[in-house]
């Protein structure tokens, strides 16, 4: 009896095995011949886009890019085989491998989303002049001057400033209802690295908060990682222990927002809404909406027009956005105040980095040499203060405001 069972089982296994062998054969022969650049030659348009992302949807940073890319490709009418997503591509040789592989698959437009991808993408761009390469957050396109290598960023400091206004209003509310005293209005900020992008972000956020809550101060610390859930959570907790009454962050995980939700401390998020997981403490989030940029580059490819070497998205062109306010958590009158500030920013009557609004070591800045043209020694090369304000993201798209202003304490240096 058992022998019969055994033989039946064996026969079954053999059947499945032979099926597998057939499938292997199919895979190999099919894989070698077809599939080369099918998307590129399809229909009238000649766009096939390859996207390179540092992490996957679990990172708020990459999710923000991925959602925008998906939406832009759909809006541009690209079919499923006309765009490829490569996720979890580290900032090393793997990035070069991924980019070259996308070229092999017939992509003629390749985009990478992380700062550390830049040099690897640049190397591939030099080898493939026929393919356009776009890189977000990078700094080298305007000095490299390659026809097929482009940088992009957005004036996110405007969004951060608006988010800061929401934070300041919340602090005011807490002062008014007696939860905290005016001199306790301390904000905690979880930064990734002490890099200009982060410094520019927290400074504009702080200036926004202080524009409505004059007694606000801020403490900043850094996790030394762009994505580290535990480190971000621990740091948010440490800042709250240190007396911070409101937390914001520039790091890419849910670490800080979830720590705030656990302790009921208001949080201003980044990269997108965290309302779903933090319904009680989420106030608002600023983010860069990359969809306008993606639509712009895909459109340029379709029409055969040139892509800007260094593109800056703004509040006006829809690249800098605030998410919906969490109406159950924000202070009364926030929406109206936001509208007012937004209008002032858009019509140019208000500048985020107005030098009359902040001091450095007690002094008002009249000129500042920033490192706009990237070099190995990070030499300051361009004066970026004129007409009474710091011209952020105007000399190049990636931020270069890297000054610690009065009212902000860097805990990694002073605490």
């Amino acid at each position: 009896m058992s022998k019969k069972i055994l033989s039946v089982v064996l026969a079954l296994v053999l059947c499945i095995l032979s099926l597998f062998a057939v499938s292997c054969g199919n895979g190999k022969t099919g894989g070698d011949g077809t599939g080369e650049g099918t998307g590129a030659q399809q229909g009238g348009n000649k766009v096939k886009v390859g996207f390179i992302f540092l992490h996957d949807q679990n990172s708020t940073y990459d999710k923000n890019f991925m959602d925008a890319a998906e939406a832009a490709c759909k809006a541009a009418g690209l079919s499923e085989d006309q765009y490829i997503f490569r996720v979890n591509v580290p900032e090393g040789n793997e990035c070069k491998v991924a980019a070259e592989d996308l070229v092999d698959q017939g992509c003629n437009l390749i985009f990478a989303d992380s700062f550390g991808h830049e040099e690897f993408i640049l190397a591939v761009a030099k080898e493939h002049p026929e393919v356009q390469f776009c890189h977000a957050t990078g700094t080298m396109a305007h000095t490299e001057k390659l026809a097929n290598f482009h940088n992009a960023f957005a004036s996110i400091y405007e969004g951060r400033y608006l988010a800061g206004v929401v934070a300041g209003m919340k602090l005011n509310e807490m002062i008014e209802d007696g939860t905290i005293k005016a001199d306790e209005a301390k904000i905690g900020y979880v930064g990734a690295w002490p890099y200009a992008e982060v410094i520019s972000g927290f400074t504009s956020f702080f200036l926004g908060a202080r524009s409505v809550c004059a007694s606000a101060t801020m403490e900043v610390n850094f996790t030394s990682s762009w994505f580290d859930v535990n480190a971000e959570r621990d740091m948010a907790n440490a800042l709250m222990d240190h007396g911070c009454k409101l937390i914001s962050q520039h790091a890419d995980s849910m670490g800080a927002p979830s720590a705030c939700e656990e302790r009921g401390v208001p949080n201003v998020s980044y990269n997108g809404s965290t309302l779903e997981s933090c319904p009680n403490t989420f106030l608002v989030s600023s983010r860069i909406d990359w969809q306008p940029y993606f639509e712009y580059i895909i459109g340029a490819m379709k029409n055969g027009t040139a892509i800007d070497t260094d593109w800056t998205g703004t509040l006006k062109n829809g690249s800098v956005k605030l998410t919906e306010l969490n109406t159950s958590a924000v202070a009364e009158g926030t929406a109206a105040k936001l509208e007012e500030v937004r209008t002032a920013l858009e019509n140019g009557s208000l500048h985020v980095f107005d030098t009359s609004k902040f001091t450095v070591g007690g002094q008002t800045l009249t000129e500042y040499m920033a490192d706009v043209d990237t070099d190995a020694a990070f030499t300051p090369d361009t004066n970026v203060i004129s007409d009474g304000y710091f011209h952020e993201s105007e000399k190049r798209s990636a931020p270069y405001f890297d000054i610690i202003i009065d009212g902000i304490t860097r805990l990694d240096q002073n605490g």
């Binding site: 009896m1 058992s2 022998k3 296994v13 499945i16 095995l17 597998f20 499938s23 292997c24 199919n26 895979g27 190999k28 099919g30 894989g31 070698d32 599939g35 996957d56 949807q57 490829i84 997503f85 490569r86 996720v87 979890n88 580290p90 900032e91 090393g92 040789n93 491998v97 070259e100 592989d101 092999d104 700062f115 550390g116 040099e119 690897f120 190397a123 990734a192 690295w193 002490p194 890099y195 200009a196 992008e197 982060v198 410094i199 030394s224 990682s225 762009w226 490192d371 190995a376 020694a377 990070f378 890297d402």
Partner: protein, 365 residues
């Protein structure tokens, strides 16, 4: 009926096998791999509703479709193989070194440090010598620290080497924080100080180096006195002492060798591939290597197969994730299923299942 049931024996019992011909063992393992792949295919249909044939094809495409992918497969496999070779002598000695991740990282960091501080300041051939020496020595020291503690004070090497990994990661973060003045936390690649390239692919020098190391390691373990001593210490420390082997010396020497090989892996990763260092540069291969080495029964030649298998799975499942737009954790799932089957099949190699024939009634068998 009831009376008969009470006499029932279990359907089968398990007996340890005396021996099994090698070809038979290999067949069982190959069957296990195939069964795992079939199981993955079924899973793909059930969970993601993917045509299983497209799934297999996607896996093959991901690894082999273009020459670039084939070379990259060899490259990934070589780095993994190099770290697997590194952990092997220590494991054979039953010294549970799970610090290959950190040792490789330190080797890579030392390479990067030499490139960062000396690049362009000393003649290129000298720079290469310094890079190689720094990588090997630093990783060797990193491996020797827990070995010294083990040999002298009998500390737990598993915990110690594990902790050393975290120290290595912090060290990399610290150095990057200090080296990169812009504060971006990203060390720009120093491509011009990279190790020389030759052969049909940029990866060829790496692949060649590891191929040579594999043969050397095989010979060392199989035919040298050191290799014999490692086996004896692994079998029984007391026996080793009895026949006059200096166990402490063997532990230290073997860990130094482990570290040196990790250093070479770090050198190849930083000096020969990425030209920069980051905390994710080893990408957990220090842990994957343990599996690769174990699956190959600590035999360097079999390790060529097992490292190939793992590298193939990684490349293949990445392609599956890209093609079908599903999360990359699919890669870990498939790898885990495969390991489960391979480790599970060892049971059938060690034991055989005997079905009990019931005494009662008409005997058919």
């Amino acid at each position: 009926m009831k009376a008969k049931e009470s006499k029932r024996e279990p359907l089968f019992h398990i007996v340890r096998r005396d021996h099994m011909p090698t070809w038979n063992r290999m067949l069982i393992r190959v069957l296990a791999v195939l069964a795992a792949l079939i199981f993955c295919g079924i899973l793909m249909v059930a969970i993601f509703h993917i045509d299983p044939f497209r799934f297999y094809r996607s896996m093959l495409d991901g690894a082999f479709k273009t020459p670039r992918r084939r070379w990259y497969l060899l490259q990934s496999m070589s780095i993994l193989l190099c770290i697997s070779l590194a952990v092997t002598p220590a494991f054979k000695m039953r010294f549970w070194n799970i610090g290959a991740e950190g040792q490789t990282m330190v080797g890579g960091l030392a390479t990067a440090a030499v490139m960062f501080y000396l690049g362009g300041k000393i003649p290129t051939p000298l720079l290469f010598v310094a890079m190689i020496a720094a990588a090997i020595l630093s990783a060797m020291i990193w491996a020797l620290i827990p070995a010294v503690f083990k040999a002298r004070w009998n500390t737990n090497e598993t915990l110690f080497t594990l902790m050393m990994n975290y120290v290595a990661i912090q060290l990399v973060t610290f150095c990057i924080g200090n080296w990169v003045k812009s504060g971006s936390g990203i060390l720009a690649p120093m491509s011009k100080y990279g190790l020389p390239k030759f052969g049909p692919s940029d990866y060829f020098p790496n692949i060649l180096t590891v191929a040579v190391l594999t043969v050397l390691m095989f010979v060392y373990l199989r035919y040298s006195k050191h290799g014999y001593e490692i086996s004896v210490v692994g079998e029984s420390e007391n026996t080793a002492r009895y026949i006059g082997i200096n166990v402490k010396k063997v532990i230290l020497r073997t860990m130094a060798l482990s570290g040196a090989l990790c250093g070479i892996a770090g050198l190849l990763l930083v000096g020969g591939t990425n030209y920069t260092v980051s905390t994710s540069i080893v990408d957990n291969q220090g842990f994957t290597a343990i599996m690769v080495s174990w699956l190959a029964k600590f035999n360097p030649i079999f390790m060529i197969l097992t490292s190939f298998l793992v590298a193939f799975l990684q490349a293949g499942t990445k392609q599956v994730s890209t093609d079908f737009r599903i999360n990359e954790s699919i890669s870990d799932i498939v790898t885990a299923i495969l390991l489960f089957f391979i480790i599970g099949c060892e049971f059938f190699i060690q034991y055989k299942i005997l079905f009990n024939h019931r005494q009662k009634g008409s005997e058919q068998a």
